[in-house]
Symmetry: C2
Subunit: 298 residues, 2 copies
């Protein structure tokens, strides 16, 4: 049996499942402080015979296996979780291979292996909610370099009639600062859910996301783009993206039919936890051949 | 013996060399129309016994081996070269494996295999000259998805005191439109070479390039960044990048020592042609095992 953790800022989803990504049982645990949350995580997994654990975590995290802080959550502002040795802590309770990556990289892996991007070599997974994060599979492997991607913080051009200052504590008016859920709420004075009838809200949202997609496409050229998260439940945002992206790109590179290219997650809200199951399976395989946890298919 | 072509908009560099990337003989041929230029290319290679040919080409090109126009230069504005079947034409004269990729991807490959990024798994190679292009090696392989990267055209934020309209025919004020050589010349009314003493020129240049680097780093997280091309001969641009990049990034992700992270090409002007030799070697290896030309090390 494979164990999986989708570690989020508000809740941990834990599951056990099979290597095809299917979920046998799942539970949700509130994210409070590590001492409380991890105890409940351990209790859940102790009920099963676990062969490996996959963790898709909120970040930033250290995914560099050559680093002395590999397996840590690093510079998060989230109380108690900064410099938390996630992999090491789990290892104390379970002597099994542990896969560790970002929640969004896990989701990208699940989509490319199982659903929306199945059979493709590359997939970009973007979540737009309380923050904006993205993970990617490139040529069959989870994207990783010096570290994992942090694509939600790229710069975009402000709309000429948008005077909202931006909400990112690091970059103020980066993509996340202008387009994540809290920015929508602060700019318009109401929660997104209460703004459904305001077309201009979602038009502007698509305006910013389309700029970011332009950069992602010019840099990564993904074969499929999957967009999830609370904000993307507004279908109007997709319509706005489909309008602005070709306008910004202006025929410079070939774009496939956008309705088929930029899609909702095939796994819905289960993309992350399913990806974490796949990370567990990868960790198990890689223990066998001694290679690094990269998502390689070869 | 391996044949190599670095196909540029003004000249073709052709060389023969060895699989370690060393050049035995090289020649430069002006880029006029295909019928003229290719005849001279063929004449050069006919003097040698060629086992494979690597082509690093200006673009956009079709690098998708499943496409009916694989091996073509596609939508270039360059007279006579639009829809030119580059690989197929070479195949008519030389019945050998042919590797085909962008000039900048070839350069990235050479830098990661041989010089500035040797021993690393990833490298971003950026050229800033009459245009801005970039290639990348990601986890040991040439970056490719739906197509090759076209990173020079990402959007950047205009400097509040820069009123130059931008020169990109597709996007007007994208990175290339604001920061390539012709934009520098048009904005300041003189060629870059005559602006060496004007510190504000190179400060602004670094301001735009640092924004682009921020996106490249947040999306790809390369282990090394190599910057070449005519504009980068101005050391002042590097100084400006070293100043602005940390300011824009604002400690959000870890940046290595920038003087060691963002560097000039180890191969100087030979990065592209050397990379083309490596593309030839890859094509030869891949003919052996039947796999695709991806730069995989495994």
């Amino acid at each position: 049996m494979l164990g999986a953790i989708e570690a989020g800022g508000t809740k941990f989803v834990c599951a056990v499942g099979e290597k095809d990504g299917s979920i046998r049982e799942r539970v949700e645990i509130p994210t409070t402080v590590p001492s409380e949350t991890i105890v409940k995580v351990v209790e859940f997994f102790k009920r099963f015979e676990i062969d490996a654990i996959g963790i898709g975590s909120f970040g930033p995290i250290d995914v560099n296996q050559d680093s002395s802080t590999y397996g840590y959550i690093t510079s998060t502002p989230k109380e108690g979780w900064r410099d938390f040795p996630f992999v090491q802590t789990m290892k104390e309770f379970f002597d099994v291979p542990i896969g560790f990556n970002t929640d969004v990289n896990a989701a990208a892996l699940a989509e490319v292996r199982l659903v929306a991007a199945k059979g493709l070599e590359s997939c970009l997974y973007i979540t737009v909610g309380t923050g904006i994060g993205a993970g990617a599979v490139v040529q069959g492997r989870l994207l990783q370099g010096l570290s994992h991607p942090e694509m939600g913080h790229i710069l975009v051009n402000r709309h000429p009639s948008d005077f909202y200052q931006g909400k990112c504590p690091y970059h103020q008016a980066c993509l996340e600062g202008l387009a994540a859920g809290p920015a929508i709420e602060e700019r318009w004075g109401e929660k997104g859910i209460d703004l459904v009838g305001r077309a201009e809200v979602w038009d502007l949202e698509g305006y910013y996301l389309a700029q970011a997609l332009m950069s992602y496409i010019l840099i990564l050229s993904p074969q499929k783009i999957v967009m999830g998260g609370g904000v993307m439940h507004q279908q109007q945002v997709f319509s706005s993206i489909y309008k602005y992206l070709p306008e910004f790109m202006n025929h410079y590179v070939f774009l496939p039919d956008l309705k088929d290219y930029i899609v909702t997650p095939g796994l819905g809200n289960n993309a992350g936890i399913t990806g974490a199951i796949l990370l567990a399976e990868l960790a198990l395989e890689e223990q066998g051949d001694g290679s690094h946890a990269s998502g390689a298919r070869e």
